[in-house]
Symmetry: C2
Subunit: 190 residues, 2 copies
Amino acid sequence: LQILKERIRKDGRVLDGNILKVDTFLNHQLDISLLNEIGKAFYEAFKEREITKIITAETSGIAIAAISAQYFDVPVIFARKFDSVNMDANSYEGSVYSYTKKRDYKMRVPKHLMSSNDRYLLLDDFLANGEAIKGMKALIDDAGATLVGTGVVIEKSYQSGHAMLKEMGIEVVALAKIASMQGNTIVFKD
Amino acid sequence: LQILKERIRKDGRVLDGNILKVDTFLNHQLDISLLNEIGKAFYEAFKEREITKIITAETSGIAIAAISAQYFDVPVIFARKFDSVNMDANSYEGSVYSYTKKRDYKMRVPKHLMSSNDRYLLLDDFLANGEAIKGMKALIDDAGATLVGTGVVIEKSYQSGHAMLKEMGIEVVALAKIASMQGNTIVFKD
């Protein structure tokens, strides 16, 4: 998505430790016009796939999912993060390993909000090591539902996530693929 | 907002301890068509007030703010919650007392996302005791910016929040005002 890559070049900030900050437009301050372009692009990619619900993880995915859902005309649900390892009998859940925090956490959705008949599109802001998406796939499996595909706004293509998810049979559509970041220079894959 | 009240009557669940669950359409699963009606209603209420940015608090306010911002054509920012009492020099912040957790937490926004020239509309899902909105007002004051007004989807009018905020000079527009909840019966104020 050209407008997205231009915006990342203009306003993205590369910080030490392989961090790309896009908090002025994507995941803390939200440029709603840009989110609409993102939503349209996800719709173009998945419109033939009979999506019945969009799912995301709190917090950064919520606005992306809500704006995108307008094009699909489906509801959104989001999974909440819990540090606890206790199983909640009333929730479907999936485990995520956090490299930052060096521990597992759970993504949970109350059971009454998910149905095994649903065909989910998973949306998120970033794909890097793929652990968050892998955990969301486990949650959808726990509900006996179908993960049709995943849309991410920015993929760090030099990390292992995309390949791991592909191996798991999870289709990923990324709107901006970053091949490398050096100093303030962001190189896109395509 | 009639469509909202009807939805609360139909799908809201009253639980023990004065809790109204609206998680099937407002703050966990999101009915995007309803959120658009909510956004239009907030726009009608505040369209003459030169709003330059919409602000909300994670997590439940984010989708409401994102959808509503389309009508105002302004960006959204959200404040993050931190348990810590430590001041972060790079953030504006406000304290919120949580009756549930019986302790203060901080709402924070990085300084580079706020400007003293901004005129904020604060949006949230619920108004009950008003503590969250009071904390967000403190955050906006910390940034030297203007809180033009507050829009909440559901107000528990039998609690003290509305009166407290009015006394502080904060204008509140509520789209559904609940006068009382008894068993499964929800009585609206108007």
